[in-house]
Protein backbone atom coordinates (compact mmCIF):
# COMPACT_ATOMS: atom_id res chain seq x y z
CA UNK A 1 0.00 0.00 0.00
CA UNK A 2 1.27 3.44 -0.91
CA UNK A 3 2.16 5.65 2.04
CA UNK A 4 -0.45 8.31 2.84
CA UNK A 5 0.20 11.48 0.88
CA UNK A 6 -0.98 13.68 3.72
CA UNK A 7 0.55 13.85 7.18
CA UNK A 8 -2.96 13.81 8.50
CA UNK A 9 -2.01 14.38 12.15
CA UNK A 10 -0.15 17.55 11.20
CA UNK A 11 -3.03 18.85 9.06
CA UNK A 12 -5.54 18.03 11.81
CA UNK A 13 -3.44 20.04 14.25
CA UNK A 14 -3.44 23.00 11.86
CA UNK A 15 -7.24 22.68 11.61
CA UNK A 16 -7.66 22.37 15.40
CA UNK A 17 -9.45 19.07 14.90
CA UNK A 18 -8.88 16.14 17.28
CA UNK A 19 -9.07 12.90 15.28
CA UNK A 20 -9.49 9.40 16.65
CA UNK A 21 -7.23 6.58 15.46
CA UNK A 22 -10.09 5.11 13.45
CA UNK A 23 -10.75 8.48 11.77
CA UNK A 24 -7.08 8.73 10.85
CA UNK A 25 -7.23 5.23 9.39
CA UNK A 26 -10.34 6.13 7.33
CA UNK A 27 -9.58 9.70 6.30
CA UNK A 28 -5.95 9.05 5.31
CA UNK A 29 -6.75 6.81 2.31
CA UNK A 30 -9.88 8.82 1.42
CA UNK A 31 -7.97 12.09 1.28
CA UNK A 32 -5.14 10.38 -0.60
CA UNK A 33 -7.65 9.24 -3.20
CA UNK A 34 -9.11 12.73 -3.45
CA UNK A 35 -5.65 14.21 -3.94
CA UNK A 36 -4.95 11.70 -6.72
CA UNK A 37 -8.24 12.79 -8.26
CA UNK A 38 -7.37 16.49 -8.17
CA UNK A 39 -3.93 15.70 -9.61
CA UNK A 40 -5.58 15.70 -13.04
CA UNK A 41 -5.44 19.51 -12.81
CA UNK A 42 -1.73 19.19 -13.56
CA UNK A 43 -2.69 18.26 -17.14
CA UNK A 44 -4.25 21.69 -17.57
CA UNK A 45 -1.94 24.41 -18.86
CA UNK A 46 -2.32 27.47 -16.66
CA UNK A 47 0.91 29.24 -17.59
CA UNK A 48 0.22 32.97 -17.79
CA UNK A 49 -3.37 32.52 -16.59
CA UNK A 50 -4.55 34.88 -13.88
CA UNK A 51 -6.03 33.33 -10.73
CA UNK A 52 -9.74 33.98 -10.24
CA UNK A 53 -10.81 34.45 -6.64
CA UNK A 54 -14.27 35.68 -7.55
CA UNK A 55 -15.88 35.60 -11.00
CA UNK A 56 -18.21 38.55 -10.87
CA UNK A 57 -16.68 41.94 -11.65
CA UNK A 58 -16.91 43.82 -8.39
CA UNK A 59 -13.98 45.34 -6.58
CA UNK A 60 -13.11 47.77 -3.84
CA UNK A 61 -16.64 47.81 -2.49
CA UNK A 62 -16.88 50.54 0.09
CA UNK A 63 -19.61 51.57 2.43
CA UNK A 64 -20.37 54.73 4.31
CA UNK A 65 -18.66 54.82 7.70
CA UNK A 66 -22.00 54.90 9.48
CA UNK A 67 -23.62 52.96 12.29
CA UNK A 68 -26.37 50.58 11.19
CA UNK A 69 -28.54 50.15 14.25
CA UNK A 70 -30.36 47.16 12.74
CA UNK A 71 -27.14 45.14 12.68
CA UNK A 72 -26.18 45.78 16.30
CA UNK A 73 -26.92 43.00 18.77
CA UNK A 74 -27.68 43.91 22.33
CA UNK A 75 -25.26 42.63 24.96
CA UNK A 76 -27.81 40.03 26.02
CA UNK A 77 -28.47 38.86 22.47
CA UNK A 78 -24.75 38.60 21.73
CA UNK A 79 -24.24 36.39 24.78
CA UNK A 80 -27.47 34.40 24.43
CA UNK A 81 -25.81 31.58 22.46
CA UNK A 82 -22.59 31.55 24.51
CA UNK A 83 -21.60 28.12 25.87
CA UNK A 84 -20.37 29.92 29.00
CA UNK A 85 -20.70 33.55 29.93
CA UNK A 86 -19.73 35.41 33.06
CA UNK A 87 -20.14 39.05 34.07
CA UNK A 88 -21.10 40.04 30.55
CA UNK A 89 -18.15 38.27 28.90
CA UNK A 90 -17.56 35.00 27.06
CA UNK A 91 -15.81 32.61 29.45
CA UNK A 92 -13.13 30.26 28.09
CA UNK A 93 -10.71 27.76 29.65
CA UNK A 94 -7.27 29.10 30.55
CA UNK A 95 -5.11 30.13 27.61
CA UNK A 96 -1.66 30.31 29.25
CA UNK A 97 -0.15 27.71 31.57
CA UNK A 98 0.30 28.91 35.15
CA UNK A 99 3.78 30.13 36.00
CA UNK A 100 5.76 27.40 37.82
Amino acid sequence: MAPDRIDIRHVARLARLALSDSEIATFGPQLGKLLSFVDELNELDTAGVAATAQVVPSRNVQRADAVRPETILTHEAALANAPQAQSGYFRVPRILAEEG
Binding site: I6, I8, V11, A12, L14, A15, R16, L17, A18, L19, S20, E23, T26, F27, Q30, L31, K33, L34, L35, F37, V38, D39, E40, L41, N42, E43, L44, T46, V49, A50, A51, T52, A53, Q54, V55, V56, S58, V61, R63, R68, T71, L73, A77, A78, A80, N81, A82, P83, Q84, F90, V92, P93, R94, I95, A97
Partner: protein
Protein backbone atom coordinates in the same frame (compact mmCIF):
# COMPACT_ATOMS: atom_id res chain seq x y z
CA UNK B 1 -58.67 27.50 -4.55
CA UNK B 2 -56.45 24.68 -3.30
CA UNK B 3 -53.94 26.02 -0.73
CA UNK B 4 -51.90 22.80 -0.89
CA UNK B 5 -51.47 22.34 -4.66
CA UNK B 6 -51.93 25.84 -6.09
CA UNK B 7 -49.01 27.87 -7.38
CA UNK B 8 -47.51 30.81 -5.53
CA UNK B 9 -48.82 33.04 -8.32
CA UNK B 10 -52.39 31.76 -7.76
CA UNK B 11 -52.22 31.96 -3.95
CA UNK B 12 -50.84 35.51 -3.95
CA UNK B 13 -53.47 36.61 -6.49
CA UNK B 14 -56.30 35.12 -4.43
CA UNK B 15 -55.05 36.69 -1.19
CA UNK B 16 -54.47 40.07 -2.84
CA UNK B 17 -57.99 40.01 -4.32
CA UNK B 18 -59.48 39.15 -0.95
CA UNK B 19 -60.82 35.81 -2.17
CA UNK B 20 -59.03 34.04 0.64
CA UNK B 21 -56.93 35.04 3.61
CA UNK B 22 -53.30 34.26 4.44
CA UNK B 23 -54.59 32.86 7.75
CA UNK B 24 -56.76 30.36 5.87
CA UNK B 25 -53.78 29.26 3.76
CA UNK B 26 -51.71 28.73 6.92
CA UNK B 27 -54.53 26.83 8.63
CA UNK B 28 -54.84 24.50 5.64
CA UNK B 29 -51.19 23.72 5.00
CA UNK B 30 -49.88 23.36 8.57
CA UNK B 31 -51.62 20.02 9.34
CA UNK B 32 -51.01 18.75 5.81
CA UNK B 33 -47.28 19.50 5.99
CA UNK B 34 -47.05 17.90 9.43
CA UNK B 35 -48.69 14.71 8.15
CA UNK B 36 -46.60 14.54 4.97
CA UNK B 37 -43.47 15.14 6.97
CA UNK B 38 -43.98 12.01 9.08
CA UNK B 39 -43.04 10.18 5.84
CA UNK B 40 -40.60 12.59 4.18
CA UNK B 41 -38.71 14.24 7.08
CA UNK B 42 -38.08 17.34 4.99
CA UNK B 43 -38.26 19.63 8.03
CA UNK B 44 -35.96 19.99 11.00
CA UNK B 45 -38.72 22.03 12.57
CA UNK B 46 -42.10 23.33 11.55
CA UNK B 47 -42.85 26.88 12.67
CA UNK B 48 -46.66 26.99 12.94
CA UNK B 49 -46.74 29.80 15.52
CA UNK B 50 -44.51 32.06 13.43
CA UNK B 51 -46.52 31.16 10.36
CA UNK B 52 -49.86 32.08 11.94
CA UNK B 53 -48.49 35.33 13.34
CA UNK B 54 -47.06 36.30 9.95
CA UNK B 55 -50.37 35.36 8.27
CA UNK B 56 -52.20 37.76 10.58
CA UNK B 57 -49.75 40.53 9.71
CA UNK B 58 -50.19 39.83 6.00
CA UNK B 59 -53.98 39.84 6.31
CA UNK B 60 -53.81 43.17 8.13
CA UNK B 61 -51.62 44.66 5.40
CA UNK B 62 -53.98 43.41 2.67
CA UNK B 63 -56.96 44.78 4.60
CA UNK B 64 -55.15 48.14 4.75
CA UNK B 65 -54.94 48.18 0.97
CA UNK B 66 -51.44 46.85 0.33
CA UNK B 67 -50.73 44.41 -2.48
CA UNK B 68 -47.90 41.92 -1.84
CA UNK B 69 -46.18 39.76 -4.48
CA UNK B 70 -46.07 36.68 -2.24
CA UNK B 71 -49.14 37.36 -0.11
CA UNK B 72 -49.98 34.22 1.87
CA UNK B 73 -47.51 31.94 0.08
CA UNK B 74 -46.08 29.19 2.35
CA UNK B 75 -42.27 29.14 2.17
CA UNK B 76 -39.83 26.61 3.63
CA UNK B 77 -36.34 27.80 4.50
CA UNK B 78 -33.15 25.77 4.36
CA UNK B 79 -31.78 25.56 7.86
CA UNK B 80 -28.53 27.31 6.98
CA UNK B 81 -30.39 30.63 6.79
CA UNK B 82 -31.09 32.65 9.90
CA UNK B 83 -34.63 33.40 11.00
CA UNK B 84 -34.61 35.45 14.17
CA UNK B 85 -35.69 33.52 17.24
CA UNK B 86 -35.60 30.08 15.58
CA UNK B 87 -33.05 27.33 15.97
CA UNK B 88 -30.73 27.46 12.96
CA UNK B 89 -28.46 24.42 12.80
CA UNK B 90 -26.97 24.12 9.29
CA UNK B 91 -27.64 20.41 9.81
CA UNK B 92 -24.72 20.22 12.25
CA UNK B 93 -24.40 19.13 15.86
CA UNK B 94 -22.04 22.05 16.41
CA UNK B 95 -25.01 24.42 15.94
CA UNK B 96 -27.61 22.05 17.42
CA UNK B 97 -28.82 24.64 19.95
CA UNK B 98 -28.03 27.84 18.08
CA UNK B 99 -30.89 30.33 18.06
CA UNK B 100 -30.52 32.93 15.31
CA UNK B 101 -30.30 36.47 16.73
CA UNK B 102 -31.22 38.07 13.39
CA UNK B 103 -32.86 37.24 10.06
CA UNK B 104 -31.10 36.63 6.74
CA UNK B 105 -31.75 39.31 4.13
CA UNK B 106 -33.25 36.86 1.59
CA UNK B 107 -35.62 35.51 4.24
CA UNK B 108 -36.56 39.00 5.40
CA UNK B 109 -37.35 40.05 1.83
CA UNK B 110 -39.72 37.07 1.47
CA UNK B 111 -41.45 38.01 4.72
CA UNK B 112 -41.73 41.61 3.56
CA UNK B 113 -43.28 40.32 0.31
CA UNK B 114 -45.98 38.52 2.31
CA UNK B 115 -44.69 34.93 2.38
CA UNK B 116 -45.46 32.70 5.37
CA UNK B 117 -42.57 30.77 6.98
CA UNK B 118 -43.72 27.16 7.42
CA UNK B 119 -40.48 25.66 8.69
CA UNK B 120 -36.73 25.12 8.49
CA UNK B 121 -35.59 22.32 6.22
CA UNK B 122 -33.04 19.56 6.54
CA UNK B 123 -29.72 19.70 4.68
CA UNK B 124 -26.37 18.04 4.37
CA UNK B 125 -24.25 19.37 7.21
CA UNK B 126 -23.10 22.91 6.31
CA UNK B 127 -24.53 22.27 2.81
CA UNK B 128 -21.77 19.76 2.03
CA UNK B 129 -23.23 16.81 0.19
CA UNK B 130 -25.34 15.67 -2.75
CA UNK B 131 -27.88 13.37 -1.09
CA UNK B 132 -28.99 14.87 2.22
CA UNK B 133 -27.39 11.93 4.01
CA UNK B 134 -24.77 14.12 5.69
CA UNK B 135 -27.31 15.77 7.99
CA UNK B 136 -26.47 15.22 11.64
CA UNK B 137 -30.16 14.95 12.51
CA UNK B 138 -32.28 12.96 10.08
CA UNK B 139 -32.56 11.44 6.62
CA UNK B 140 -34.95 13.24 4.31
CA UNK B 141 -36.73 10.90 1.88
CA UNK B 142 -37.55 11.46 -1.75
CA UNK B 143 -41.29 12.14 -2.10
CA UNK B 144 -41.35 10.14 -5.36
CA UNK B 145 -39.80 7.02 -3.77
CA UNK B 146 -39.30 7.03 -0.03
CA UNK B 147 -36.44 4.53 -0.32
CA UNK B 148 -34.37 7.00 -2.35
CA UNK B 149 -32.50 10.18 -1.44
CA UNK B 150 -33.94 13.63 -2.23
CA UNK B 151 -30.55 14.91 -3.38
CA UNK B 152 -28.53 17.57 -1.63
CA UNK B 153 -27.46 19.61 -0.09
CA UNK B 154 -30.83 21.45 -0.07
CA UNK B 155 -32.53 18.11 0.62
CA UNK B 156 -35.50 19.25 2.69
CA UNK B 157 -36.19 22.38 0.65
CA UNK B 158 -36.49 20.30 -2.55
CA UNK B 159 -38.45 17.48 -0.89
CA UNK B 160 -40.89 19.83 0.87
CA UNK B 161 -41.91 21.52 -2.39
CA UNK B 162 -41.93 18.21 -4.31
CA UNK B 163 -44.17 16.69 -1.62
CA UNK B 164 -46.59 19.66 -1.59
CA UNK B 165 -45.57 20.36 2.04
CA UNK B 166 -44.60 23.93 1.00
CA UNK B 167 -45.45 26.03 -2.05
CA UNK B 168 -41.95 27.44 -2.47
CA UNK B 169 -38.67 27.21 -0.60
CA UNK B 170 -35.24 28.73 -0.35
CA UNK B 171 -32.09 26.70 -0.87
CA UNK B 172 -28.44 27.52 -1.33
CA UNK B 173 -26.23 26.30 -4.16
CA UNK B 174 -22.44 26.10 -4.01
CA UNK B 175 -21.75 23.40 -6.60
CA UNK B 176 -25.24 22.14 -7.44
CA UNK B 177 -27.07 22.05 -4.11
CA UNK B 178 -30.23 23.59 -5.56
CA UNK B 179 -30.20 22.10 -9.08
CA UNK B 180 -29.44 18.45 -8.26
CA UNK B 181 -32.12 17.99 -5.55
CA UNK B 182 -34.59 19.91 -7.74
CA UNK B 183 -33.97 17.34 -10.50
CA UNK B 184 -34.44 14.47 -8.03
CA UNK B 185 -37.68 15.86 -6.54
CA UNK B 186 -39.55 16.93 -9.71
CA UNK B 187 -39.33 20.67 -9.01
CA UNK B 188 -37.69 23.76 -10.49
CA UNK B 189 -34.48 24.81 -8.74
CA UNK B 190 -32.82 28.09 -9.67
CA UNK B 191 -29.34 29.36 -8.80
CA UNK B 192 -29.01 33.04 -9.78
CA UNK B 193 -25.74 34.68 -10.84
CA UNK B 194 -23.27 34.80 -7.96
CA UNK B 195 -23.94 38.02 -6.08
CA UNK B 196 -27.54 38.55 -7.19
CA UNK B 197 -28.95 37.50 -3.82
CA UNK B 198 -27.49 38.69 -0.52
CA UNK B 199 -25.69 36.07 1.55
CA UNK B 200 -26.19 38.03 4.78
CA UNK B 201 -27.52 35.53 7.31
CA UNK B 202 -26.56 32.50 5.22
CA UNK B 203 -24.16 30.29 7.17
CA UNK B 204 -21.07 30.35 4.97
CA UNK B 205 -19.61 27.28 3.27
CA UNK B 206 -17.57 28.53 0.27
CA UNK B 207 -17.98 32.27 0.06
CA UNK B 208 -16.93 32.76 -3.57
CA UNK B 209 -19.54 30.22 -4.74
CA UNK B 210 -22.47 30.21 -2.27
CA UNK B 211 -25.69 31.61 -3.67
CA UNK B 212 -29.27 31.51 -2.39
CA UNK B 213 -32.08 30.63 -4.78
CA UNK B 214 -35.64 29.30 -4.96
CA UNK B 215 -37.35 25.96 -5.38
CA UNK B 216 -40.84 26.00 -6.86
CA UNK B 217 -43.23 23.79 -8.80
CA UNK B 218 -43.15 26.14 -11.79
CA UNK B 219 -40.64 28.46 -13.43
CA UNK B 220 -43.02 31.37 -12.99
CA UNK B 221 -43.16 30.77 -9.22
CA UNK B 222 -39.35 30.55 -9.08
CA UNK B 223 -39.16 33.87 -10.96
CA UNK B 224 -41.59 35.46 -8.51
CA UNK B 225 -39.42 34.40 -5.57
CA UNK B 226 -36.26 35.55 -7.32
CA UNK B 227 -37.76 38.98 -7.98
CA UNK B 228 -38.53 39.30 -4.26
CA UNK B 229 -35.07 38.31 -2.98
CA UNK B 230 -32.63 39.68 -5.60
CA UNK B 231 -30.83 42.98 -5.39
CA UNK B 232 -28.12 44.90 -3.61
CA UNK B 233 -27.93 44.52 0.14
CA UNK B 234 -25.69 46.92 2.07
CA UNK B 235 -25.10 44.07 4.55
CA UNK B 236 -23.35 41.89 1.91
CA UNK B 237 -20.49 43.66 0.14
CA UNK B 238 -20.47 40.96 -2.57
CA UNK B 239 -24.11 41.50 -3.49
CA UNK B 240 -24.33 43.12 -6.89
CA UNK B 241 -25.37 46.71 -7.33
CA UNK B 242 -27.06 46.09 -10.66
CA UNK B 243 -30.60 46.92 -11.51
CA UNK B 244 -32.40 43.65 -12.09
CA UNK B 245 -35.46 43.65 -14.30
CA UNK B 246 -38.51 41.79 -13.01
CA UNK B 247 -38.39 38.26 -14.40
CA UNK B 248 -41.87 36.95 -13.60
CA UNK B 249 -43.70 39.02 -16.20
CA UNK B 250 -44.28 38.44 -19.93
CA UNK B 251 -42.53 35.07 -19.95
CA UNK B 252 -42.20 33.80 -23.54
CA UNK B 253 -44.11 30.81 -24.92
CA UNK B 254 -41.61 29.71 -27.56
CA UNK B 255 -37.90 29.67 -28.33
CA UNK B 256 -37.89 31.16 -31.82
CA UNK B 257 -34.49 32.63 -32.63
CA UNK B 258 -32.84 31.16 -29.52
CA UNK B 259 -29.56 29.30 -29.99
CA UNK B 260 -29.26 26.39 -27.55
CA UNK B 261 -25.72 25.11 -27.01
CA UNK B 262 -25.22 21.38 -26.53
CA UNK B 263 -21.84 20.66 -24.96
CA UNK B 264 -19.76 18.29 -27.09
CA UNK B 265 -17.73 17.08 -24.12
CA UNK B 266 -20.80 16.09 -22.07
CA UNK B 267 -21.16 12.52 -23.27
CA UNK B 268 -24.70 11.66 -22.19
CA UNK B 269 -24.44 8.22 -23.82
CA UNK B 270 -22.19 7.23 -20.93
CA UNK B 271 -25.13 7.79 -18.56
CA UNK B 272 -27.02 4.82 -20.01
CA UNK B 273 -29.64 4.48 -22.71
CA UNK B 274 -32.73 5.57 -20.78
CA UNK B 275 -31.10 8.66 -19.27
CA UNK B 276 -29.47 9.66 -22.56
CA UNK B 277 -32.84 9.17 -24.30
CA UNK B 278 -34.54 11.45 -21.80
CA UNK B 279 -32.06 14.25 -22.48
CA UNK B 280 -32.20 13.76 -26.24
CA UNK B 281 -35.95 14.16 -26.15
CA UNK B 282 -35.52 17.32 -24.09
CA UNK B 283 -33.12 18.79 -26.67
CA UNK B 284 -35.56 17.87 -29.46
CA UNK B 285 -38.39 19.53 -27.54
CA UNK B 286 -36.30 22.73 -27.33
CA UNK B 287 -35.80 22.57 -31.11
CA UNK B 288 -39.52 21.96 -31.64
CA UNK B 289 -40.18 25.24 -29.84
CA UNK B 290 -38.15 27.05 -32.49
CA UNK B 291 -34.68 26.93 -30.97
CA UNK B 292 -31.60 26.19 -33.05
CA UNK B 293 -29.35 23.54 -31.50
CA UNK B 294 -25.64 24.29 -31.87
CA UNK B 295 -22.62 22.29 -30.74
CA UNK B 296 -20.45 24.15 -28.27
CA UNK B 297 -17.21 23.10 -26.65
CA UNK B 298 -16.21 23.38 -23.00
CA UNK B 299 -12.83 21.63 -23.13
CA UNK B 300 -11.93 22.49 -19.53
CA UNK B 301 -15.29 21.55 -17.99
CA UNK B 302 -13.94 18.10 -17.18
CA UNK B 303 -11.55 19.78 -14.73
CA UNK B 304 -14.46 21.37 -12.91
CA UNK B 305 -14.77 18.75 -10.18
CA UNK B 306 -11.05 18.78 -9.34
CA UNK B 307 -11.05 22.58 -9.32
CA UNK B 308 -14.14 22.71 -7.13
CA UNK B 309 -12.85 20.13 -4.65
CA UNK B 310 -9.86 22.35 -3.95
CA UNK B 311 -11.52 25.78 -3.91
CA UNK B 312 -14.64 24.84 -1.95
CA UNK B 313 -12.84 22.91 0.83
CA UNK B 314 -10.20 25.66 1.09
CA UNK B 315 -12.88 28.29 1.63
CA UNK B 316 -14.79 25.93 3.95
CA UNK B 317 -11.74 25.30 6.14
CA UNK B 318 -11.38 29.04 6.54
CA UNK B 319 -15.09 29.76 7.11
CA UNK B 320 -15.59 26.93 9.59
CA UNK B 321 -12.65 28.09 11.72
CA UNK B 322 -15.20 30.29 13.50
CA UNK B 323 -16.77 27.23 15.16
CA UNK B 324 -14.49 27.04 18.16
CA UNK B 325 -16.85 26.71 21.13
CA UNK B 326 -16.29 30.27 22.36
CA UNK B 327 -19.15 32.54 21.30
CA UNK B 328 -21.93 30.19 20.18
CA UNK B 329 -22.65 26.56 19.41
CA UNK B 330 -21.35 23.42 21.04
CA UNK B 331 -18.47 23.44 23.50
CA UNK B 332 -16.65 20.36 24.76
CA UNK B 333 -14.37 21.28 27.63
CA UNK B 334 -10.63 20.66 27.68
CA UNK B 335 -7.70 21.34 29.99
CA UNK B 336 -6.87 24.51 28.11
CA UNK B 337 -8.38 26.54 25.33
CA UNK B 338 -6.54 24.63 22.58
CA UNK B 339 -7.83 21.28 23.77
CA UNK B 340 -11.31 22.80 24.07
CA UNK B 341 -11.17 23.86 20.39
CA UNK B 342 -9.99 20.46 19.21
CA UNK B 343 -12.55 18.48 21.20
CA UNK B 344 -15.41 20.82 20.35
CA UNK B 345 -14.73 20.53 16.63
CA UNK B 346 -14.10 16.76 16.84
CA UNK B 347 -17.50 16.24 18.49
CA UNK B 348 -19.45 18.89 16.61
CA UNK B 349 -18.54 18.15 12.98
CA UNK B 350 -19.52 15.04 10.99
CA UNK B 351 -17.19 13.03 8.74
CA UNK B 352 -17.79 14.85 5.43
CA UNK B 353 -17.22 18.25 7.03
CA UNK B 354 -14.04 16.96 8.67
CA UNK B 355 -12.79 15.59 5.34
CA UNK B 356 -13.35 18.94 3.65
CA UNK B 357 -11.76 20.91 6.47
CA UNK B 358 -8.71 18.63 6.28
CA UNK B 359 -8.34 18.78 2.50
CA UNK B 360 -8.90 22.53 2.52
CA UNK B 361 -6.40 23.09 5.32
CA UNK B 362 -3.89 20.98 3.41
CA UNK B 363 -4.48 22.89 0.15
CA UNK B 364 -3.90 26.19 1.93
CA UNK B 365 -0.95 25.07 4.03
CA UNK B 366 2.60 26.27 3.62
CA UNK B 367 4.33 24.54 0.71
CA UNK B 368 1.12 23.38 -0.98
CA UNK B 369 -0.76 26.66 -1.48
CA UNK B 370 0.55 27.35 -5.00
CA UNK B 371 0.37 23.74 -6.18
CA UNK B 372 -3.23 23.27 -5.13
CA UNK B 373 -5.18 26.41 -4.26
CA UNK B 374 -3.63 28.86 -6.72
CA UNK B 375 -3.59 26.20 -9.44
CA UNK B 376 -7.32 25.64 -8.89
CA UNK B 377 -8.02 29.36 -9.08
CA UNK B 378 -6.22 29.50 -12.42
CA UNK B 379 -8.18 26.50 -13.66
CA UNK B 380 -11.30 28.38 -12.64
CA UNK B 381 -10.28 31.25 -14.91
CA UNK B 382 -9.92 28.87 -17.85
CA UNK B 383 -13.32 27.27 -17.18
CA UNK B 384 -15.00 30.68 -17.07
CA UNK B 385 -13.24 31.66 -20.32
CA UNK B 386 -14.54 28.49 -21.99
CA UNK B 387 -18.09 29.49 -21.08
CA UNK B 388 -17.52 33.00 -22.46
CA UNK B 389 -16.38 31.53 -25.77
CA UNK B 390 -19.31 29.11 -25.87
CA UNK B 391 -21.76 31.95 -25.30
CA UNK B 392 -20.44 33.67 -28.44
CA UNK B 393 -22.11 30.82 -30.33
CA UNK B 394 -25.25 30.28 -28.23
CA UNK B 395 -27.69 32.03 -25.89
CA UNK B 396 -28.19 29.20 -23.42
CA UNK B 397 -26.44 25.92 -22.68
CA UNK B 398 -28.59 22.82 -22.10
CA UNK B 399 -27.23 19.78 -20.28
CA UNK B 400 -28.17 17.16 -17.71
CA UNK B 401 -28.68 18.53 -14.19
CA UNK B 402 -27.41 15.33 -12.59
CA UNK B 403 -25.68 12.16 -13.70
CA UNK B 404 -28.61 9.94 -12.70
CA UNK B 405 -32.06 10.06 -11.15
CA UNK B 406 -32.31 9.76 -7.35
CA UNK B 407 -30.32 6.85 -5.95
CA UNK B 408 -30.88 4.71 -2.86
CA UNK B 409 -29.67 5.45 0.66
CA UNK B 410 -26.05 4.43 1.33
CA UNK B 411 -25.49 3.86 -2.40
CA UNK B 412 -22.47 6.18 -2.61
CA UNK B 413 -20.15 5.25 0.23
CA UNK B 414 -17.08 6.52 -1.64
CA UNK B 415 -16.81 10.32 -1.29
CA UNK B 416 -15.50 10.78 -4.84
CA UNK B 417 -18.44 8.75 -6.28
CA UNK B 418 -20.78 11.15 -4.49
CA UNK B 419 -18.86 14.17 -5.82
CA UNK B 420 -19.40 12.92 -9.39
CA UNK B 421 -23.15 13.59 -9.01
CA UNK B 422 -22.37 17.27 -9.48
CA UNK B 423 -20.30 16.82 -12.64
CA UNK B 424 -22.68 18.94 -14.76
CA UNK B 425 -23.54 21.65 -12.24
CA UNK B 426 -20.07 22.49 -10.92
CA UNK B 427 -18.50 24.11 -14.02
CA UNK B 428 -21.27 26.72 -14.19
CA UNK B 429 -20.91 27.37 -10.46
CA UNK B 430 -17.20 28.05 -10.86
CA UNK B 431 -18.06 30.56 -13.61
CA UNK B 432 -20.74 32.17 -11.40
CA UNK B 433 -23.45 31.65 -14.04
CA UNK B 434 -27.20 31.75 -13.50
CA UNK B 435 -28.46 28.23 -13.94
CA UNK B 436 -31.51 26.14 -13.18
CA UNK B 437 -32.97 22.67 -13.34
CA UNK B 438 -36.43 22.17 -14.82
CA UNK B 439 -38.27 18.81 -14.86
CA UNK B 440 -37.69 16.98 -18.16
CA UNK B 441 -39.27 13.57 -17.77
CA UNK B 442 -38.80 10.40 -15.76
CA UNK B 443 -36.61 7.32 -15.89
CA UNK B 444 -36.85 4.04 -14.00
CA UNK B 445 -33.44 3.77 -12.32
CA UNK B 446 -31.43 0.54 -12.38
CA UNK B 447 -32.91 -1.72 -9.72
CA UNK B 448 -35.87 0.61 -9.17
CA UNK B 449 -39.57 0.09 -9.75
CA UNK B 450 -40.93 3.63 -9.97
CA UNK B 451 -40.14 6.17 -12.68
CA UNK B 452 -38.08 8.92 -11.05
CA UNK B 453 -37.96 12.57 -12.10
CA UNK B 454 -35.14 13.99 -14.19
CA UNK B 455 -33.95 17.58 -14.56
CA UNK B 456 -32.73 19.54 -17.56
CA UNK B 457 -30.08 22.11 -16.66
CA UNK B 458 -30.09 25.44 -18.49
CA UNK B 459 -27.32 28.02 -18.01
CA UNK B 460 -26.92 31.49 -19.48
CA UNK B 461 -24.31 34.28 -19.29
CA UNK B 462 -23.78 36.27 -16.10
CA UNK B 463 -26.69 38.54 -15.11
CA UNK B 464 -29.15 37.15 -17.71
CA UNK B 465 -31.69 35.69 -15.30
CA UNK B 466 -34.65 37.09 -17.18
CA UNK B 467 -33.65 35.34 -20.42
CA UNK B 468 -32.84 32.10 -18.59
CA UNK B 469 -36.19 31.95 -16.80
CA UNK B 470 -37.97 32.78 -20.06
CA UNK B 471 -36.35 29.85 -21.91
CA UNK B 472 -37.14 27.50 -19.04
CA UNK B 473 -40.74 28.69 -18.87
CA UNK B 474 -41.29 28.13 -22.59
CA UNK B 475 -39.89 24.58 -22.32
CA UNK B 476 -41.86 23.82 -19.15
CA UNK B 477 -45.19 25.04 -20.51
CA UNK B 478 -44.74 23.07 -23.73
CA UNK B 479 -43.88 19.82 -21.94
CA UNK B 480 -45.48 19.98 -18.47
CA UNK B 481 -43.36 17.06 -17.28
CA UNK B 482 -43.74 17.81 -13.56
CA UNK B 483 -47.51 17.28 -13.72
CA UNK B 484 -47.10 13.76 -15.10
CA UNK B 485 -45.67 12.42 -11.84
CA UNK B 486 -47.32 12.18 -8.43
CA UNK B 487 -45.63 11.79 -5.05
CA UNK B 488 -46.01 8.34 -3.49
CA UNK B 489 -49.51 7.46 -2.34
CA UNK B 490 -48.87 7.96 1.38
CA UNK B 491 -48.29 11.69 0.75
CA UNK B 492 -51.49 12.42 -1.19
Amino acid sequence: MDPIRDSAVAIAAAVNRGETRASAIAAAIIPHAARVDTHVDAYLQLTPDLMRAQAERVDARIAAGERLPLAGVPVAIKDNMCLEGTRTTAGSRILGNFVAPYTATAVQRLLDAGALPIGKTNLDEFAMGSSGENSAFKMTRNPYDLERVPGGSSAGSAAAVGAFAATISLGSDTGGSIREPAAFCNVVGFKPTYGRVSRYGLIAFASSLDQIGPFARSVEDAALVYDAIAGKDPLDATSLDLRSEPTATNLPRDLRGVRVGIVKEFDTAALGESIAGCYHRAYEDLAALGATLVDVSLPTARYGLATYYLIAPAECSSNLARFDGVRYGLRVDGADVGEMYERTRATGFGPEVKRRILIGTYALSSGYYDAYYVKAQKARTRIAEDFSRAFERCDVIASPAASSPAFGFNAKSDPVAMYLMDYYTIPGSLAGLPSLSVPCGAVVPDGGTRAMPMGLQLATPLFTERALLGYAHAYEQATLHAEKLDPVEALR
